[in-house]
């Protein structure tokens, strides 16, 4: 297990490095100049700014300086469009994204997994078909349609819920629901498939034959294996919920990390872009690792398979 984790961590470093390389060169290839947003910047000021941010050095030097500063000083550079350290920007907006992501994840698990189990148990009945059709709606209707619809239908009518904004404890409900809905739908499909596969196996028949109650057979024996695909999905999905929430943040005006990322890409703010991209990459890699470890705990076959390789 230890060797497995170590190997994955090393691979994760490699991935981060690849991600850094891609974003670095894409950021350099991005159109326009930094510092053009401020009006009337003279050429000398610009040169001074470039020097200040270390942008006057040759490309290979810049390519090495950025990651080494992260390692030695935990310095992610300074945002050229906001004039603040990228680290502060991340530290300020990450908790918001995290709350949103946790809320979304709770919705996804709370809705998706029960629906999947019910569908699997009632396989090929009208309950199954209608639940799966609802799940398909969750996958096919984009967040930028559901979000505005929720705003008109619910936020405008229910007291205590605001159409947009962030500050009150209840404000996270609608964005989190919107964000979690797609994952809930995927989870429902994955759980259904996983549980169905397990329920068709011999040890389930044995459990029934032993006289266990159907509820117990499903919850105790069916779920352990049946949840495997869902667990494997949840790790990356959670990271994606935290990092990929640009749309939901835009619709509900949530001050999370996603907006910085899109703004950085538009305003050619390379340090912010690289900083946020690396942070996202790190999150995704860690979440993948965690879900792999959980899969290993739930399913001994995975560990044996890994060892056999």
């Amino acid at each position: 297990m230890f060797r497995f984790i170590l190997g994955r961590l090393l691979q994760g470093l490699l991935v981060l490095f690849a991600l850094y390389t891609i974003t670095f060169f894409l950021a350099k290839a991005m159109p326009g100049e930094p510092f053009t947003t401020e009006k009337n910047v003279s050429e000398t000021t610009k040169q001074y700014l470039r020097k200040l941010y270390g942008l006057d050095k040759p490309l290979p030097a810049q390519y090495i300086i950025y990651p080494s500063k992260i390692i030695t000083d935990r310095d992610f550079g300074v945002s050229t469009s906001k004039g603040r350290p990228v680290r502060d920007i991340i530290a300020q907006s990450f908790p918001v994204s995290l709350i949103l992501g946790l809320g979304a994840m709770s919705f996804a698990i709370g809705i998706g997994i029960p629906i999947g189990i019910i569908s699997a148990v009632r396989k090929n009945s009208w309950v199954d078909w209608s639940l799966m059709a609802v799940a398909m709606v969750g996958i096919c209707v984009p967040a930028f349609t559901i979000g505005p619809l929720l705003q008109i239908l619910i936020a405008a009518n229910v007291p205590g819920l605001k159409v947009a904004g962030w500050g009150n404890p209840l404000d996270f409900l609608l964005p989190a629901f919107t964000l979690g809905l797609v994952s809930a739908a995927y989870l429902a499909r994955l759980t259904r498939g996983g549980v169905l596969e397990i329920l068709s196996q011999d040890f389930i028949r044995t459990a029934h034959a032993k006289g266990l109650s159907p509820t117990r057979v499903i919850l105790k024996h069916g779920l352990r294996g049946g949840l495997l695909p869902s667990v494997a999905y949840l790790g990356p999905a959670f990271a994606a919920m935290i990092s990929g929430s640009f749309i939901v943040e835009t619709i509900f005006q949530v001050p999370g990390m996603g907006q910085h990322f899109v703004n950085a890409a538009i305003s050619r703010d390379e340090f912010l872009l690289m900083g946020v991209a690396l942070f996202f990459g790190f999150l995704i890699i860690m979440m993948n690792l965690i879900s792999d470890i959980l899969t290993g705990i739930l399913d001994p076959r995975v560990r044996i398979g890994k060892a056999a390789q």
């Binding site: 994760g12 326009g32 709606v137 349609t145 990929g244 890409a265």
Partner: protein
């Protein structure tokens, strides 16, 4: 699962087609998708100009003149939806084609080569798979969109193409590649697994005995046999790309006027949702219906070809 599929290639496809025919949801989806494609690429040519602005006729209700009413600039919503659908569907299909070309070739070469080249190529795929897709596409799209305007003026200058047409073309072509360039990874894995089992089969041995070179064996004998899973996976990829396109357009990084797509229409509609929710809901219905039918179609194909859902 337990029975072996017969060797003859044509009967696999016929079997799959017969099984498809019994799946009502999949057949209905095929019908819906065909209808939407027919409307967007056929009926659209007989509709009003989607960009004709009539400021005196803003937010009109549906009528004989404007079947679905008009938008904030008095443009005909029905024809905007059909023309927008052209771009959305094209982006989905062409980006899928790009990723299928790359994915099948890469996966097949990797699986056929085996050994160290295979291990290296798959490590590269693993690495790329862990890179957040949308993150890279957004940056890539920001870079490509400026190149595209340069390319556009170059083409107009040197080749004398129509300016509006060229602008439209160079606006959407980068999208195909930004999406397609990263969408091939899972497909490469699927094809590799297929090729690895296929290359041990007798017909490959026979082809080798006939003295065919490796290139011909791979592309003429092995790859055609991986088409089933490829078709299934590609069908499920198209709605994903359509969704990505809409997401990018919604963020202002995708399709730009005078082009429009369903993502753009939904974005425009969301601005006026409180007073005129139809502008948000009608494009949303078309968009969701397309994704719905493609997903059901893909599921149906998967059952018909009996492809295992597992990833490796």
């Amino acid at each position: 699962m337990s029975e072996k599929t017969p060797e003859a290639g044509s009967s696999l496809w016929r079997d799959a087609w017969l099984r498809m025919g019994k799946n009502k949801a999949a057949m209905a989806s095929l019908g819906v998708f065909t209808l939407i494609v027919f409307m967007c690429f056929g009926v659209a040519w007989f509709c009003k100009d989607p960009n004709a602005v009539t400021l005196t006729n803003k937010f009109a209700s549906p009528s004989g003149e404007h079947w679905m009413g008009t938008d904030a600039l008095g443009r005909d919503l029905f024809s905007r939806i059909l023309y927008g659908g052209q771009i959305s569907i094209l982006v989905g299909l062409i980006a899928t084609a790009v990723s299928v070309c790359i994915g099948v070739t890469y996966g097949a070469v990797s699986g056929f080569a085996g050994g160290r080249p295979d291990a290296l190529m798959m490590r590269i795929v693993d690495t790329l798979l862990s890179i957040p897709f949308l993150v890279v596409v957004i940056v890539l799209q920001a870079v490509l969109s400026v190149w595209s305007s340069d390319t556009s003026s170059w083409i107009v200058q040197h080749w004398n193409w129509d300016k509006t047409f060229t602008d439209r073309l160079t606006n959407i072509v980068p999208l195909f590649f930004a999406l397609g360039l990263f969408g091939w990874l899972t497909l490469a894995r699927i094809v590799r697994a297929q090729v690895m089992s296929l290359k041990e089969r007798e017909f490959v041995e026979a082809a080798r005995a006939l003295g065919y070179d490796r290139f011909r064996i791979l592309f003429r004998h092995i790859i055609p046999n991986t088409l089933g899973p490829t078709v299934v996976y590609a069908t499920l990829t198209v709605p994903g790309f359509i969704m990505y396109e809409a997401t990018l357009s919604f963020l202002g990084l995708g399709v730009e006027a005078p082009n429009s797509s369903w993502g753009i229409l939904i974005k425009e509609g969301a601005n006026f949702m409180e007073t005129h929710p139809a502008l948000l809901i009608i494009p949303g219905i078309f968009f969701s219906l397309t994704l719905f039918s493609l997903n059901f179609l893909g599921d149906g194909l998967r059952d018909a070809f009996d492809v295992k859902a597992s990833k490796d």
